[in-house]
Amino acid sequence: MKSKSFERIDKRKFDEIRPMKAKVGVVPNADGSALFQFGETVAIAAVYGPKKMHPQHLQNPEKGTLRCNYSMMSFSVAERIRPGPTRRSTEISKIIQWALEPVLLIEKYSNTVIDVHINILQANASTRCAAINAAAMALAHAGIPMKDIVSSVSIGKLDKQLVVDVNKYEEDWEDGEGATDIPMSFTGSGEITHIQLDGKISIEELKEAIELGRKAVKKIYGVQKKALKEVINCENGNEQTN
């Protein structure tokens, strides 16, 4: 972390996350659903299952399967995105699956699949982090047994300055060393389930970035927790007061 006087385009502090919003139960038809928002980046996730896996040759008799499907809405960015799977969305789907799998307790659900559909309604960088946050909440909401909740944040290095939760402008940073984007996910107890790195960074700086991420993720975890509990407390208002 170099200068403390570094100014970001949206006047945020270097360790400040964009205003977050989380909501559970946004898709009534699904078994579990959630919305997660980082500023202008909005992701919704819907969970269906566990249900029988089809085709049969994909069934795993040892444990259940998690299947994520990430996609960006065609109107999520200024330049229209052609709908349908792309190289990028397939890759991110897999990344999200790997980020969430370690916390799921789905050994008993053999031969079944849990489908997680994630859509990005609006994108301003850090979409995979918003997607992971929404998906983790949706899985919990669907009643899937889990060890913990996953929260994700992206750390950026703009020239020599580390920042939390990069936006599109910062992602395209070109001055000095350019931009390095490090999305990472942690469980509530602080274990890393996913980390990616796009750019270049020294080992020391990476360690610093991870610590910065660990700190930032606590706030995200708080937001997720609050949103999940709100639904129960709202529904069970009477039970709570008695």
């Binding site: 579990g32 659900y109 919990a140 009643g143 047994p145 060890k147 509530g188 107890s189 509990k229 069970n236």
Partner: protein
């Protein structure tokens, strides 16, 4: 009533050396951690999480309602809307069956009321050897969230008996969320369905029994 609080997976419910982990919790050191989203409840030393959502977990002795999915050489595969296949073996039919004409007893697509005989590594085993079990011939069937079934039944069946009395219908509640209703007229059956849906929706209210009595009075007046 015991105090319940909302918990999320991974949350520490209580830090106490003497507490015991119940359903959907685990003990790490002296911390009791929730493994599922729902309400944590403390009964004596035991702490458990009551899930509010999620798939139906078959248990021995449960009454379930399902559809016949497949006929095999020694039984039927029944879809009870859970993550496991349920198997109904020929030997669990309380009468003689000709193996050549198994579809006469239960055909693919038939709805059947059965009892869970065993839950093992190989899946769920069903039985028809009890009173009131067998193929559904008449009446209506609908589904509710299986986590709300205990509220629909009520303490020792108080809620369901109340609904039965008020609607003059025969009702069987499957633990997997399917409910079978049979009355003299379709109006009565629909009233029973409406009442059960009301209970399932308002399952969190304390004093739900009084609420449903009021609801029946209101329904009666509207007629």
């Amino acid at each position: 009533m015991n105090k319940r609080k909302a918990v999320i997976p991974g949350e520490v419910i209580k830090e106490d050396e003497n507490s015991l982990p119940g359903e959907w919790t685990e003990k790490k050191g002296n911390k009791i951690i929730a493994l599922r989203y729902g309400l944590a409840e403390e009964v004596g030393r035991l702490i458990k999480v009551i899930p509010l959502s999620g798939p139906y977990q078959p248990r021995k002795g449960n009454i379930v309602i399902g559809q016949v999915e497949l006929i095999t050489f020694n039984g039927w595969i029944i879809d009870i809307r859970t993550f496991e296949n349920a198997f109904l073996p020929l030997s669990e039919i309380p009468r003689y069956i000709n193996k050549e004409s198994m579809e006469d007893i239960l055909d693919i697509g038939d709805t059947v009321i059965a009892k869970v005989r065993n839950v093992g590594k190989r899946g769920v085993e069903l039985s028809l050897k009890s009173r009131g079990l067998g193929r559904v011939e008449e009446g209506i069937i609908f589904k509710i969230n299986s986590n709300k079934v205990p509220r629909v039944i009520g303490k020792e069946g108080s809620m369901i008996n109340l609904i039965k009395k008020n609607t003059e219908c025969d009702i069987i509640v499957g633990q997997n969320g399917f409910i079978w209703v049979k009355g003299d007229s379709i109006e009565k059956e629909l009233l029973a369905k409406k009442a059960i849906m009301f209970v399932a929706e308002k399952s969190h209210i304390t004093g739900l029994t009084e609420e449903i009595i009021k609801w029946f009075e209101k329904e009666e007046n509207e007629k």
